[in-house]
């Protein structure tokens, strides 16, 4: 009996290809919107989660400037190497402290040049930033201390300057400094904020200060806290020591800022998830509208096909057979629309993930849910018109023009 209903429903849909496609459109758009958004959102969340992990254990960042509001900082004197040494000495539960100075420059190798930032730091920079070596070696403590002309570069810089060549044991020029490339870092991809973490050149801090910047400034201090330590306490200790170092009176506000990176990443991840949820809800509404579209078309079809229903009933179709036929028509429409929507969504998500540089993470759950939901839409919104058709009086229906 079900096979019969399917046969009749398919014959009917085939007769009205255009109308069938238009009816499915609502479901197609709804399903593909939900799946695309959830897939991309899932990819973004996964990316943020991975970045939290890649930040390394409990990273705190101390930057110069007074916090004026979101994203705004007032100018203030820079830190120096003594500050970072004092922090490491005076604050408990720290694994490492890396003073960081950054300056924009152009890196030159043979005929190639690449505008980027040069980072000057100590050997502690690598473990604190969770940067790992891919080829060659990192610079060591003695090289850092004496300010050797060596550098470690990221994958992006290597590609831009050296193409396929190995960058190791060559010399690149950074302004007046000619330095030897001793190591190539492992790729870290995009950061939470969207910047390329592989576009990096690291030289010893002393080298940076003497040969590139020409001053003793440190812009940023990265602090790695011991696992399990109370981050809040460490944060207030850092502030206390830093206030003394910067000679701030008790009534003065901090002219530096301590940021817990993990906190920010967690917040970003929550925001991403909330956005995904909200956008999916919009998609779900369009799915509902698609369902109502199906009901609308099916109701019109029942009126339009009253005579046909009369013929079927006169020929000997049972009430539930007519009901089943219309219901199957609606379910075939909606679930077929769902399948098209799924295919569309996955290809859109794949294309967009490349464009937005978000990893494509296949979410089987949402695909199954979206398909089941679209089929359910067919049953729910198809039932009322189908019942209306099944209950028609054959004599009246046959007289209908």
């Amino acid at each position: 009996m079900f096979a019969n209903a399917l046969l009749l429903a398919l014959r009917e849909l085939r007769r009205n290809v255009m109308r069938s496609i238009l009816t499915m459109l609502g479901i197609i758009i709804g399903v593909s919107a939900v799946i695309t958004l959830v897939t991309l959102g899932g990819g973004a969340t996964q990316q943020v989660t991975q970045q939290i992990a890649s930040l390394g254990s409990n990273l705190l960042m101390i930057s110069v400037g007074k916090r004026m509001g979101p994203g705004q900082m007032s100018g203030a004197a820079a830190f120096n190497l003594g500050d970072s040494e004092a922090l490491f000495r005076d604050v408990a539960d720290l694994v490492a402290v890396a003073p960081v100075a950054i300056g924009a420059t152009t890196a030159i190798y043979a005929n190639e040049n690449w505008s980027t930032n040069v980072t000057g730091s100590t050997e502690d920079f690598f473990p604190v930033s969770n940067q790992q070596i891919a080829e060659g070696r990192l610079f060591n403590a003695s090289e850092a201390r004496v300010g050797a002309a060596v550098c470690v570069i990221g994958q992006t810089v290597a590609t831009k300057l050296f193409r396929q060549q190995s960058p190791l044991n060559t010399r690149i020029r950074l302004q007046k400094l000619s330095c030897e490339v001793i190591g190539l870092l492992k790729s870290k991809g995009q950061s939470t904020m969207g910047s390329d973490q592989d576009d990096i050149i690291v030289v010893p801090l002393r080298t940076f200060q003497r040969r590139i910047a020409g001053n003793q400034d440190v812009n940023l201090i990265k602090v790695s806290v011991k696992e399990g330590a109370d981050t809040e306490r460490v944060k207030s200790d850092l502030e206390r020591v830093m206030r003394v170092r910067r000679h701030l009176a008790t009534n003065e506000e901090n002219n530096f800022n301590v940021l817990d990176m993990k906190e920010i990443a967690t917040m970003l991840s929550t925001t991403t998830q909330t956005m995904t949820g909200l956008l999916s809800a919009v998609g779900a509404v369009s799915l509902l509208v698609g369902g109502i579209g199906i009901m609308n078309i099916m109701l019109v079809a029942v009126t339009e096909r009253t005579r046909e229903i009369g013929i079927r009933l006169a020929i000997g179709a049972l009430e539930h057979e007519v009901l089943l036929q219309f219901l199957v028509e609606a379910v075939v429409l909606s679930s077929f629309g769902g399948i098209i929507g799924i295919v569309l969504a996955l290809s859109t998500a794949l294309a967009l993930s490349g464009l937005l540089q978000v990893p494509f993470v296949f979410q089987g759950g949402i695909v199954i849910i979206a398909f089941l939901f679209s089929a359910t839409v067919g049953v729910v919104f198809g039932y009322f018109p189908a019942r209306k058709a099944a209950r028609l009086d054959p004599i009246e229906a046959l007289r209908h023009e």
Partner: protein, 239 residues
């Protein structure tokens, strides 16, 4: 009547004092005022009468589409009035064939699929269904029009497809409601010859409503309706 057909076996269908009243209160309208009619297997009956004489109501009751207000309609001894809507549908499916004035084929559906329709509801297997439908189309002389939709067929051809659909299940009773009403005289003759042949060769009982005496002349028996009652009922030589 019973004395005329006294020698025949039990009637295929029998109306006993059937009345049909539509509406209620002041708007009440009596379509049938107490009909007694027996039709025996193999008969070819023409039902005639002016509009509003009750013949359409009578056809609806005979076709198990409607039930009497009072009285009984017995189809092969079964009281149709006591059956549920679905049981009447099963009766139509298994024993009845319908031919309408307006053909009533499914639009944008090939002749073959139209003829297959009653077999689908019977649950006939695909192979048997195709075979029976082709045979029925052949019987009405439309083998070469299997894949044509009603829009691509003339009126006479459409009515022949409708007849094929009605006889494809091998019904006991064929009900034709003004089957030639929309056709010219040459096409009408073709249709009447088809109905006559199915009645004669396959023994299908035919009850046909018509306004035209020339078409009624093909029947073996003519029943005249007037004001909700049977006015005259007589046998004739037929063709």
């Amino acid at each position: 009547m019973s004395d005329i057909n006294g020698a025949l076996p039990t009637p295929l269908l029998e109306l006993r004092n059937v009345t049909k009243i539509y509406g209620a209160g002041d708007a009440q309208m009596q379509a049938l005022a107490g009909i007694n009619l027996s039709i025996y297997p193999g008969e070819f009956v023409a039902v005639m009468g002016p509009s509003g004489s009750g013949k359409s109501t009578c056809m609806n009751i005979l076709g198990c589409l409607d039930t009497p207000t009072t009285g009984h309609y017995l189809f092969q001894g079964i009281d149709v009035g006591s059956l549920s809507r679905n049981q009447r549908a099963l009766l139509r499916r298994n024993y009845l064939g319908f031919v309408f004035q307006g053909f009533n084929l499914l639009n944008r559906t090939s002749a073959l699929e139209n003829v297959e329709l009653p077999l689908i509801y019977r649950g006939t297997t695909t192979a048997v269904r195709h075979q029976l439908a082709r045979q029925a189309l052949q019987a009405v002389g439309l083998s070469d029009r299997e894949n044509h939709t009603p829009g691509e067929l003339s009126g006479g051809q459409q009515q022949r497809v409708a007849i094929a659909r009605a006889i494809v299940t091998g019904p006991s009773l064929l009900l034709a409601d003004e089957p030639t009403g929309n056709l010219d005289s040459a096409r009408s003759v073709e249709i009447m010859e088809l109905l006559t042949s199915f009645n004669r060769d396959k023994g299908i009982t035919v009850v046909m409503v018509t306004h035209e005496p020339e078409m009624a002349a093909y029947a073996k028996r003519i029943v005249h309706f007037k004001d909700g009652l049977i006015d005259t009922d007589h046998q004739q030589g037929g063709h």
